[in-house]
Symmetry: C2
């Protein structure tokens, strides 16, 4: 964590807010200066630290920009262009999600949808249960809204499956107001089964909680697995909120176009007031996103086939390294690996500062940022398989060599303890 001791300014300055001090720095980006230094030394850094795919954005989306025929780049409706929302409603219908365009607010990425949801649903001090490890930025939105994240632990031994219903029941207090899931999951790649979602449904209804479902990786399901949306569950019209984004679907992270979707009218009207305050989501990104709705099915088939190959190379490769455990994910393009190391922050920094193998090293995200209590993730890392296959093969070899020489490597006995947790 950054040191927030007051700077020694020449002149006095007003104090920074408590939220500002509490807000965590990005665990994914904090190693960037070390990566830059490595590159300056001539080391080639293989970036598995961030979910920025190298997959091409669909031509149909880029063509919408190239054929732009507007004279004035105006605000859109605060909920987004009606034509785009109607297109989205049709897209969801194809995915078994019955939603009208009036139940959709287009947002500045999934990030803003999460912020609108947290602000609209929760009081400062309210508790939201999140299966962990979870997407690090959930902590940031929780800090913004003053919400307390209550983690429910998933284990690598279970492949990061949903914990049993009793684990949730044990965490529910009078302040519990919601459950937040990411499905398929970042950072684990875990895809919830229908049975697991029914479990969540029953908890939500029993305790009258909001269920936020971050489904931005919907298209990325492997091995014949089928995605089940929270909005496809019965009886959750007043409880379920779908968080979505075009970032990963069309490899268009920079478009900053997401969506906040619910059938709960009062909640939708509330979120709409937050949307009006920031006037509109981005016009260019919406034009590209609306065009992207015409992306041919072949594009997704090709992308999924590519990701399956990448996953197999990375995960199977990692599991051949002594002391490494990595569950095979059924979705998204991340995996969490358990390593025989003392401290993942130190290891990831060491890889950039002190290691190279045939001129290469690997950049990963320490899993400490993906747990409510950072120490829980100290022997795990998150890897994003967003690069071409030869790069992934090279990354596995780098890690194999690195773990053989890393000074903080755990002895086999200790490693076994880690494995059995």
């Amino acid at each position: 964590m950054t040191n927030f001791a007051r700077a020694t300014n020449a002149t006095p300055m007003p104090a920074i807010s408590s939220k500002g001090r509490l807000m965590p720095p990005s665990p994914i980006r904090k190693l960037v200066p070390y990566a830059e230094a490595a590159k300056k030394r001539g080391v080639q850094v293989i970036h598995l630290n961030i979910g920025q795919p190298d997959i091409a954005t669909p031509d149909v989306a880029l063509d919408a920009m190239r054929k732009l025929d507007r004279k004035v780049i105006e605000y859109s409706h605060s909920a987004g262009f009606e034509s785009y929302r109607k297109g989205l409603a049709a897209y969801y219908a194809e995915h078994g999600i019955a939603i009208t365009h009036e139940q959709i607010i287009v947002t500045n990425g999934g990030s803003e949808a999460l912020l609108f949801g947290m602000m609209s649903c929760f009081e400062p001090g309210d508790e939201v249960i999140i299966p962990e490890p979870y997407y690090a930025n959930y902590n940031s939105f929780a800090v913004s809204a003053g919400v307390k994240v209550v983690p429910v632990r998933c284990t690598i031994a279970d492949g990061f499956a949903l914990p049993p219903i009793q684990a949730f029941e044990a965490l529910i207090t009078p302040r519990t107001k919601g459950i937040l899931i990411c499905n398929p999951g970042n950072p684990t790649g875990y895809l919830y089964s229908r049975a697991e979602l029914e479990t969540l449904r029953s908890i939500v209804l029993k305790h009258d909680l909001f269920l936020f479902a971050d489904e931005v990786y919907r298209e990325f399901c492997y091995d014949g697995a089928v995605h089940v949306s929270a909005l496809a569950l019965d009886g959750l019209d007043q409880h379920a909120v779908l968080i979505d984004s075009v970032s990963k679907r069309y490899s268009m992270c920079g478009a900053r176009v997401g969506a906040f979707i619910t059938r709960n009218t009062e909640l939708l009207q509330t979120a709409m007031k937050f949307a009006q305050a920031r006037l509109s989501p981005p016009t260019f990104g919406q034009l590209a996103s609306e065009a992207a709705l015409r992306t041919p099915k072949q594009y997704f088939d090709d992308v999924v086939a590519e990701y399956v190959q990448r996953r197999d190379i990375l995960v199977d490769g990692l599991n051949t390294i002594p002391g490494v455990i990595c569950a095979k994910p059924k979705g998204a393009f991340y995996c969490v690996a358990e390593l025989p190391i003392d401290d993942s922050d130190a290891f990831c920094q060491w890889l950039l500062e002190s290691f190279s193998h045939e001129g290469h090293t690997v950049m990963m995200a320490p899993a400490t940022g993906f747990y409510a209590e950072p120490a829980t993730g100290r022997t795990q890392v998150r890897l994003a398989y967003v690069l071409e296959q030869p790069q992934l093969k090279l990354a596995v070899e780098c890690l194999r060599e690195a773990l053989a020489v890393y000074p903080g490597r755990l002895a086999p006995a200790n490693a076994a303890v880690v494995e059995s947790r």
Copy 2:
């Protein structure tokens, strides 16, 4: 205000948050359904209600989209593309503002810059003094951050000049943490003099407050008046925050590209954590904004000349209507007019619902939304002169006719009372 009584849902639902209930609906957009109904009846609505200019976006910005040569629309740096920030630093240098690219965070419009600032600087319950009338959405960002807006009243009789320093001193409490100005001002068009800014400087330094300066209308200064930035004042490096946006400058409101700028390193690092949480500002909008930095000076000269003519038509025209008072603004493209009416919300709605003049009517923003206490603005409206001159002439004639027949018109005696306030 919207009625936030709990909806009578068939199934129970968890409660909406207090912030969600407190968040004001947009006062600018709440009349939209009445405008839509008027259009359906065949009435032509002249839109002076919203700051969406009809001015063409510079070709150089649109060409950047048309010549897009990227294959993947990636995230940018969370602070925005470095090349764009370097271009911005050069732009500010030309405007007498010494800033490095590392003191700039590119945001999703000025809106997000304000939210980052409020979240980073203020505790829930802290007080921020804002000269009123002020941009309505400041209330929304204050609600998001739990901040209390303390208005300091500007009067139409003084042309909405900054109140004397004593008026500020009288409002300062131990919870006062900042002052927020909009310069040139929305909704008043008032441009602060250097002397007024020096007054603000002395208050800020005396009480160790943050000074937020929303300067998104910097280019729109008339009659030879010169804009003075808060960042051009001496000794405010730890206190001043510049809020900026390309929305109005390049008539590119839909780009959603703004900036949070400060020389206060600790504050910048804090805001940067909020920026990292939402990953990046929009890539397309940044590409267009970076290209827009090459907009020729002639573009601005032409736009300013056009706005001066529009302003004169609208403001001079309004002042010929009996009982109407409108100060002549020196900047931006808004004015606030005092009307001889009972209630500006009722009047603006009546214009859309029950009035037309030769097939036309006018849509304006009731000033109730621009005051901390809505009742203060009940005899005022905000008009945006963002349409072509013939439309503005027609708008004046519509208002003249409307005020002659409006059932809620104040009698001349009452009107005189209003004028003298």
